[in-house]
């Protein structure tokens, strides 16, 4: 009791105790209920024991249970590693002690009712219904055993003093319980208000961030336009005037400018995805037509490292529902990577369909016979700026954001990007998207199966790269720095 009073008047002390002995909330709840209730409980039991001329041992059990035990229980629970479990053990002992006391009063009507109701409510609020059931059993067994051992005769009536004090116990206990419940709801409401206010602040901050990014993107691009434009113009002039010595340097300026532009676009793209502000345009896509378009755009890329490029398409593929522009962006990014990391090898783009997890999926596989990745490198490639290692970035260029963006986009479209790779042998990246409709069986155009073209030998396809507008030029970022490469963003 003195501890409790001190706790109320000296928050500093209380805070110190809380910091030193953090307890489960139920421990604190039960302590606050026990202390005042059992002071009245002591008076109630005394009134019940007195007419039965109980011995000093009985009074000792009563005094320990009512006056000392609440503090001992708090002490034990607050110093144990698992305060909730300790609290439950203490409460179980409580139930046994109260059962014993009830028997020692000869099951005097009102004290037995009052103590059982209080201990039952306490057990329910702290331990739940299962614990309460076992608790009631413990109470009954303890009472029965004590009755037999002590031989106190059953006299289930109460005199006036016992009745009044029992009602006092019930009054104090229910009041404490109700007060606690009231304070708890108030704290909950306050917490909810605080949370809502925090959410509003966070949303406002997020909007401010998006505005800032959009503005920054515009402000950064405007001077870049000039840098890229003037370097291109000077390049044309240098060619016209026969100053071929300048051409390479001007191309480097242009290449660096394009690379920076790709970085800005990628960072903006990723920020929008992370902020949940990417707007997808859902449309029904004929994957085969899309595959042809992507292959046409990617073909010139393959020439650079003298790679053989093949495209395979399964005979029956359904329509998918996704954002076609974004899907092209993802596939071109994967193909650009494959082309970049493979020299005089093979790059294959393959479309097939499979049934898994209760639905049909379309799989776009981009596999190459390039440098491949070690397991350590694979663990990093889907992380922002996690290009397999820094040396790769210097040697092959790229922003290290393309794969992250590709994967996030596919996840937004209900699919994913996965990979398999063997160091030195090559890599396979698989885009997996859900098929939304059954295959259109009415199609009668010839299947675009095994459209195979060796890019190094087949230059006539180079001009296919027309009319694919990829507004966010992410796909182009990884190749934009290579002079003479196709700018996927505006191929």
């Amino acid at each position: 009791m003195s501890g409790s009073a001190l706790a109320e008047t000296d928050p500093g002390w209380r805070d110190w105790v809380r910091r030193k002995h953090p307890v489960h909330p139920t421990v604190l709840l039960d302590y606050r209920l026990r202390v005042p209730t059992w002071i009245f409980g002591a008076l109630m039991f005394a009134a019940a024991l007195y007419p039965r001329s109980a011995g000093w041992r009985t009074y000792a059990v009563m005094l320990v249970t009512c006056i000392a035990w609440p503090h001992v229980a708090w002490f034990i629970a607050s110093r144990s590693r698992n305060s909730k479990a300790a609290e439950l053990r203490n409460l179980a002992l409580d139930l046994v002690l109260v059962g014993m006391l009830s028997a020692l009063t000869g099951f005097s009507l009102w004290p037995t009712i009052a103590s059982f109701l209080c201990i039952n409510a306490g057990a329910l609020s702290v331990g739940g219904w299962r614990f309460t059931l076992y608790g009631a059993l413990a109470f009954a067994v303890a009472a029965a055993v004590t009755h037999v051992v002590s031989g106190v005769p059953i006299a289930s009536t109460s005199n006036l003093a016992e009745t009044v004090l029992s009602i006092g116990v019930l009054f104090v206990y229910t009041s404490m319980f109700a007060l606690h419940s009231y304070l708890q709801s108030r704290r909950m409401v306050a917490a909810r208000h605080a949370l809502l206010a925090q959410n509003r602040i966070a949303e406002e901050a997020n909007r401010a961030k998006s505005r800032f990014l959009a503005n920054m993107s515009h402000e950064l691009r405007t001077p870049l336009n000039a840098i890229i434009g003037y370097s291109e113009m000077l390049g044309e002039q240098a060619v016209d005037e026969g100053r071929t010595d300048l051409v390479a340097d001007l191309q480097r300026i242009r290449g660096a400018g394009r690379h920076l532009l790709g970085l800005i676009n990628d960072v903006l793209d990723l920020s929008k995805i992370e902020a949940g502000r990417t707007e997808l345009v859902w449309e029904t896509i004929d994957s085969r037509a899309l595959l042809d378009e992507v292959a046409g755009t990617a073909r010139p890329l393959m020439k650079k490292n003298a790679n053989v490029f093949t495209v395979d398409c399964a005979r029956t593929v359904g329509l998918i529902e996704c954002d076609g522009v974004r899907l092209k962006q993802v596939l071109l990014n994967l193909l650009a990577n494959a082309a970049k990391f493979t020299r005089a090898g093979r790059v294959r783009l393959r479309l097939r369909q499979e049934h898994a997890a209760g639905r049909d999926w379309q799989l776009f596989e981009v596999s190459d016979t390039g440098i491949g990745m070690t397991p350590e490198q694979m663990a990093r490639v889907f992380q922002a700026f996690g290009q397999a290692d820094a040396q790769i970035g210097r040697e092959y260029g790229g922003t290290g954001l393309g794969l992250v963006i590709s994967r996030r986009l596919c996840q937004l479209m209900g699919g994913d990007v996965t990979m398999a790779s063997t160091h030195g042998k090559g890599s396979t990246f698989t885009v997996r998207l859900p098929v939304k409709r059954l295959p259109d069986t009415g199609r009668d155009d010839p299947p675009a199966e095994a459209v195979t073209a060796a890019a190094s030998a087949n230059d006539t396809t180079t001009g296919d790269a027309v009319g694919i507008a990829i507004p966010a030029a992410t796909g182009g970022a990884d190749v934009a720095d290579a002079p003479g490469s196709v700018e996927l963003g505006r191929a």
Binding site: N225, A226, G229
Partner: protein, 123 residues
């Protein structure tokens, strides 16, 4: 040899783009904002290159006004936007732009679009 109206508020971009177009034999006139663009359009250029983010009146509104005027409606407008947002393409089309190009422009492709629109108009 065609007369192109270049609407662009940024001095460097205006200078760079006009010099490159002039090197390809086009005659260039300028407008610095949307209001000027609508006035300059009345001198009937063969084609308008319109930046979208402009002071006073933006490119979308200027295009809408030009396309609303029966005397000017036939002049092709190519929208130039700094943002590579898809919404911008739709907005440009809704305003009545005939073509669309993202900045920094792919110069050869821009030229091809200009030639294509001029040829279509000549027919």
């Amino acid at each position: 040899m065609a007369h192109l109206l270049l609407v662009e508020d940024n001095e460097l971009n205006r200078d760079m783009l006009s010099r490159r177009l002039a090197r390809r034999g086009h005659e260039i006139s300028f407008a610095l904002d949307g209001g000027e663009a609508v006035e300059a359009a009345k001198r009937l250029p063969d084609l308008i290159l319109m930046d979208m983010s402009l002071p006073v009146i933006d490119g979308w509104e200027a295009t809408r006004r030009i396309k609303a005027d029966p005397a000017l409606r036939a002049i092709p407008v190519i929208a130039l936007t700094a943002h590579a947002m898809r919404g911008d393409v739709d907005q440009a089309k809704a305003a009545g732009c005939d073509e669309f190009e993202t900045k920094p422009v792919e110069f050869e492709r821009l030229l091809a679009k200009i030639e294509q629109l001029l040829a279509a108009r000549a027919k």
